[in-house]
């Protein structure tokens, strides 16, 4: 296992460096650069001023040199400095990371637990009313665009019913502390995390249901029944456990989007997370910040891929033999 981890980490770092190089060039394909945007905002179209800015940020250097400098700082774990925000990129990302992880993590947990539970229920009631209802609901969430769900949720639950706040991380100027603050944040969390989680929940429902029905027909399930086990035990221990293997793969994919996958939701609900940071950085051509966000989210994808593989090895003893 240790060897496996070391090997995978080594590969991961190489992949990450390749991603950095690719992103570095990709970003520069977009028209305009930070100097132009800044000059534009300052109302100065003066060539000389732009050239001065470029020189100041090192943008007048040849591209390979810029890349080399960037790689060197990345390797020393320094993500650079955002000139626009007048702050180190690392600090900016760390400031926003908790809010995003809170949102995406909650959505992840909601979609996984609800999805598996509803999927299992649908499989046990296959062909009956509960199954039809769950499957139809899942299909609806699966097919509806996220932003539309978000907007509708705001209209219904915030505007009409006034049950939940429509946007933000917490009540501005509320002055809550301790538990009261936590409750306030939780209330703000409900709508964005639910809308973000619905799509993956639908995927989990469909996958769990299909997988359980498939496993239910296998021989060892008959063996389990032949032991005289209760139906609940048969379903939980023999059917569900085996049926969850493909769900683990999918959960790994979703976990990879924990950092970079909430741009839309964060924008609609004005959630102060990484997604909005990235959106702003993009508009301002803030190269360092944008690259920094890319690096962190790519690293997260790689990390969760590794975690998924480890979990897979733990839950499925056959993997070890095959490798």
């Amino acid at each position: 296992m240790a060897l496996f981890l070391a090997r995978r980490l080594g590969k991961g770092i190489l992949v990450l460096l390749a991603i950095v190089v690719l992103n570095f060039f990709l970003i520069r394909l977009a028209p305009g650069d930070p100097a132009l945007v800044m000059a534009g905002e300052a109302g100065a179209g003066d060539e000389l001023y732009v050239a001065q800015l470029r020189e100041k940020f090192g943008l007048d250097q040849p591209l390979p040199l810029q890349l080399g400098l960037y790689l060197r700082s990345i390797l020393s774990l320094d993500l650079g400095y955002s000139v626009r925000q007048q702050m180190p990129v690392g600090r900016l990302i760390l400031d926003r990371l908790p809010a995003t992880l809170l949102l995406t993590g909650t959505a992840f947990l909601i979609s996984l637990t609800l999805g598996v539970a509803l999927g299992a229920l649908a499989a046990r009631r296959a062909g009956r009313l509960a199954d039809t209802a769950i499957t139809a609901l899942a299909l609806l969430f699966y097919a509806t665009p996220l932003f539309w769900v978000s907007l509708m949720a705001i209209i219904v639950f915030s505007v009409r019913l006034d049950w939940l706040p429509a946007f933000g991380f917490e009540t501005v100027g509320g002055g809550y502390t301790g538990l009261a603050r936590a409750a306030d944040i939780a209330r703000h969390l409900v709508l964005p995390s639910l809308t973000l989680g619905l799509f993956f929940m639908a995927v989990y429902v469909r996958m769990t249901r299909a997988s359980m029905l498939e496993v239910a027909g296998l021989d060892f399930v008959k063996t389990a029944r032949a032991k005289g086990l209760r139906e609940g035990t048969v379903q939980r221990r023999h059917v569900l456990r085996n049926a969850l293997l493909p769900v683990v793969t999918l959960a790994g994919l979703q976990a990879g989007t924990l950092v970079g996958g909430a741009i839309l939701t964060e924008t609609v609900f004005a959630w102060p997370g990484i997604g909005r940071l990235m959106y702003e950085a993009l508009l301002q051509r803030d190269y360092n910040l944008l690259l920094g966000v890319f690096v962190v989210s790519s690293a997260m994808v790689l990390l969760f891929n590794l975690v998924t593989d480890v979990i897979y090895r733990v839950v499925d003893p056959r993997i070890e033999a095959a490798s």
Partner: protein, 535 residues
């Protein structure tokens, strides 16, 4: 004779409307007595497996008992509720299944699956359950019981898994053991060991055993009494010696006659020119392996050499993993050899590539094992047969004409031309498979376990067909099988394979009369029912 433990009276099981017959089992009666093995024999679709599942209350949802009773200790099992069934299963009647590869939960340790038996009935403490699991593993002859209970199913061989299943079934000392084709998926030597184990345990524990099988060799080996089923009805019942020795019903006689004998008929060895000559054929499969990881190597062929004469049938026998199917693929050049040559007449098949190879493929064709999986379900039989010739440039009309002629040749109705594979039985599909292989007018036919999935009576028909076609069309045949009885009947010469090597190659009669290699002897000794049929 003591009183029966279970008595089944007039059992009727109804199939859902629209099935090919209204009753899966129609008025079947039998007794299971302590210390006795009752064999339920029949071909596929005879309802034998349904009887077994009815005893466990594990019938498919669509099949419903519609009459009769299953009496055990004074109560009718069919009348009990789900809780009653749960108590019966495992504790009073236990069951083992056909496929040891899939009958165990792949994610649970062997010991835990055994302990679950006690847990299901609320017996013993967890520590005691573990101790019992170890003891049971020892009793069924699993090596290193302490260690093996912590293993997962994939770490065990097929035979070991079946032993684990048996251990599980015996855990609660049930009065009745139901065994549904428990050795069908195993190699002959493993099968012999498992049969001996079942016999031994049944005697020691004085259990009643209901043993389901389609194999008369196994029946001869293990049965005290026999019940022959056909289309859900009892054809004949009685003591094993009587049913096997002096069958009263013609159906039983037909079934027994269809079992290939272990005495090869006298054949004149063909001395024609060599149709295929294989020399130094070597193939090693390397799996896994990565940047820093050692690879797993399986030697499927090690310097294999043989010649197949024109008009000859050469058998390739061996246990699973012996490399016999790999040889078939290498000879067909479906996989590339690491070394060695395959000559078809005067051309070296291993040297060809591109268009010449494509043209040479016409000369050697294959009949596959599984008549269900080897035909494209979405193409009509006529198209399946005509596809090959068409691919080799035969005009459409002529290809269709040839397909129709071949259907007649393999004994199928011309109306089969426009029908789909699923409309045919296993034996008929295998005929389609043979017609498909013959459509290219090959010189050599490679039959890879071509009759292994078929019932004995159908098997006999297909073997006769192959023999007839071979003679009429002047074919040479490479016949791969794990069934020594089949090999004895159809092969001129037989090569015995073990771990990628041919250990013995001689004429069928010489091989059966004077086996030299110890492995050949072990194989022959393990064939079920050998002693009784010889006596």
């Amino acid at each position: 004779m003591s009183a029966p433990v279970v008595s089944v009276r007039g059992l009727r099981l109804a199939l859902p409307p629209g099935a090919d017959r209204p009753l899966a089992v129609d008025g079947v009666s039998f007794d299971l007595t302590a210390g006795e093995i009752l064999c339920l024999v029949g071909e596929s679709g005879s309802g034998k497996s349904m009887c077994a599942h009815a005893l466990m209350g594990l019938l498919p949802r669509a099949v419903k008992p519609s009459g009769g009773e299953i009496r055990m200790e004074g109560t009718d099992l069919l009348a009990q509720d789900e809780a009653g069934w749960r108590d019966t299963r495992g504790r009073r009647i236990a069951m083992i299944f056909q496929e040891p590869m899939t009958a165990l939960n792949p994610l649970m340790r062997i010991g835990d699956q055994m302990a679950e038996m006690f847990e299901a009935h609320g017996l013993l403490t967890p520590a005691e359950r573990r101790a019992r699991a170890v003891a049971l593993a020892g009793e069924v002859g699993l090596p290193e019981p302490e260690r093996i209970v912590r293993a997962y199913p994939h770490q065990l061989s097929g035979g070991q898994r079946q032993r684990a299943m048996i251990a599980m079934a015996l855990a609660l000392e049930p009065a009745v053991l139901v065994a549904d084709e428990p050795t069908t998926a195993l190699d002959v030597t493993t099968q012999a060991q498992i049969l001996a184990l079942v016999r031994d345990l049944q005697r020691r524990r004085n259990m009643a055993v209901l043993f389901i099988t389609h194999d008369f060799g196994v029946v001869a080996e293990i049965a005290d009494r026999v019940l022959v089923l056909r289309h859900g009805r009892v054809v004949e019942a009685g003591p094993a010696a009587a049913v096997l020795g002096r069958p009263q019903e013609s159906y039983t006689r037909t079934l027994l006659a269809a079992v290939p004998s272990m005495d090869p008929p006298v054949r004149t060895p063909p001395a024609g020119p060599k149709a295929v000559e294989v020399a130094g054929l070597t193939k090693t499969y390397v799996t896994g392996g990565g940047w820093w990881r050692p690879a797993r190597r399986v030697e499927a062929a090690r310097g294999v050499a043989f010649a197949l004469h024109k008009g000859e049938t050469l058998g390739l026998v061996g246990e699973s993993g012996s490399g016999k199917s790999s040889i078939a693929k290498l000879v067909m050049r479906l996989v590339e050899p690491d070394a060695g040559t395959v000559r078809l007449g005067d051309t070296d098949l291993t040297r060809l590539s591109g268009e010449p190879l494509r043209r040479a493929r016409r000369r050697i064709q294959m009949v596959f094992q599984d008549p269900f999986a080897s035909l494209n379900p979405r193409r009509t039989v006529g198209r399946i047969i005509a596809d090959g010739p068409r691919a080799h440039g035969v005009p459409e009309a002529e290809a269709r004409e040839r397909a129709r002629r071949l259907l007649g040749l393999v004994g199928l109705d011309p109306s089969a031309f426009d029908r789909y594979p699923h409309e045919f039985s296993g034996g008929q599909r295998q005929r389609v498979g043979i017609a498909r292989a013959l459509a290219l007018e090959p010189e050599i036919l490679v039959a890879d376990e071509a009759v292994s999935a078929l019932d004995v009576s159908v098997q006999a028909q297909v073997l006769a067909l192959l023999e007839d076609l071979k003679a009429r069309l002047g074919l040479s045949m490479l016949f791969i099988t794990h069934d020594l009885r089949v090999a004895a009947q159809i092969c001129d010469r037989i090569a015995v394979m073990r771990r990628g090597e041919i250990v013995e190659l001689k004429t069928a009669s010489a091989l059966f009369a004077h086996p030299e290699h110890p492995y050949t002897r072990a194989l022959l000794d393990a064939v079920p029912g050998r002693t009784r049929s010889a006596a």
